[in-house]
Symmetry: C2
Subunit: 242 residues, 2 copies
């Protein structure tokens, strides 16, 4: 099965959580909107499906995935679907709900990270909501981020398999997503992360371990991996990182 | 199976999406934190599990559900688990992912509704972030809410079963959640909803249809249904509803 991923072509964004899973699994996939605007690919192909009346299961926003006849939207839902098929999810139903629960909590954290630079409106520039962003980022770095990191550190420590992974005894898509969160936070909030990382050594170790996986090493060094930038979710604005 | 729901005892909040499903299904359940603080129930029972080291699958926040030995957190994840068991979800895997995708989009909308009155920090009072709330609510009522309502109106219209429901040919938990969203929006933003409802007659009809279901009629008239208030997600601050 060749999977078709549809996501904005110039940012990591939420699509990156899906890309990391597809890459680690060595799956056969195409990143449709990054292909040339020929043969029905490229950004126009994404825009055609988004909000189109031709598609019954129309997505509200990217990313979405085509798997044969199926079109699936919402990042965590895509991972829920792909995880077992790509052998990067727990085998039991209970394990899958637990992995999904953690992924949804990661999604909540990612939403809060986004809102540090866009607390008023996604449609406005950062510069047009900077005073509000300064206030929100201050609360985020002081209260919310330590709470989230402490939670995931606890989850890893309490994993009864003592595997060093978040869920069960082997790598899962949740670990790949946590890798991305740590990498993104280091890019966006380097000062804050220097302060907080000593309090979550398990997550630091998890990030290191995921980064060493051969397929991810190859992916991260390739042109398929887009750089972090001030267009995505994780943005480095030094004034928000006090 | 007697289900145990754990949620804050004095608000509808996110727990209400689970309560509506349990009530419509006529499920055997207890709302643990609303019971007296005896026999291991009441709010202390919730707080013991939340963040406790005794529980491997520790939830980040309420609501969470105990189903036998299983503890499941994240509202949409709970509905994903309960829906098929209570016969209020599609039967096919594709249908279930579609229902879940819509539920996650409802969760995104609910998050944005919450942030209209708390754009800076959940830990601060509304009064301490009122200028920011005015700005965020203005964007929400002008841009974001019309976009979300238009999307769900389109989803209902494009349902190939022409059932009047959002998914498939019968009522599902997604319809119950949409009922709650419409009810909450009418409470919080009555002026905005008067303006927008003519543009989404399908959702208005769906709300009416769900509200007439006998078990929900009984539930909504009972003391089990907590009132909307300025402690929950849907808050009526007239200044945010221009």
């Amino acid at each position: 099965m060749r999977y078709e991923l549809y996501y904005w072509p110039s940012i990591q964004g939420r699509g990156e959580f899906v890309r990391l899973l597809l890459e680690e699994a060595g799956a056969d996939y195409v990143d449709v909107a990054r292909l040339p605007e020929e043969n029905g690919t490229g950004l126009p192909a994404l825009l055609r499906l988004l909000g189109g009346e031709s598609l019954e299961h129309v997505p509200f926003a990217p990313p979405f995935l085509k798997a044969g006849d199926l079109v699936i939207g919402q990042t965590a839902n895509i991972l829920l679907y792909l995880g077992p098929r790509l052998r990067l999810a727990p085998k039991t139903e209970a394990g899958r709900h637990w992995a999904h629960q953690l992924q949804l909590t990661i999604a909540d954290l990612v939403g809060e990270i986004h809102d540090t630079h866009h607390p008023i409106a996604s449609s406005l520039y950062y510069e047009d909501q900077k005073p509000e962003a300064l206030r929100r980022a201050k609360d985020f770095t002081k209260n919310r981020l330590p709470k989230f990191l402490g939670y995931f550190e606890q989850v890893r420590a309490q994993n009864s398999f003592r595997s060093g992974y978040l869920v069960g005894d082997t790598l899962s898509y949740v670990d790949l997503s946590m890798f991305q969160v740590v990498a993104g936070l280091r890019y966006a909030f380097p000062r804050t992360m220097s302060r907080l990382e000593p309090g979550c050594p398990g997550l630091v170790e998890l990030h290191r371990r995921v980064a060493r996986r051969p397929r991810l090493v190859a992916y991260l060094a390739s042109e398929r991996r887009l750089p972090f930038s001030e267009e995505g979710i994780f943005r480095h604005y030094p004034e928000l990182d006090r």
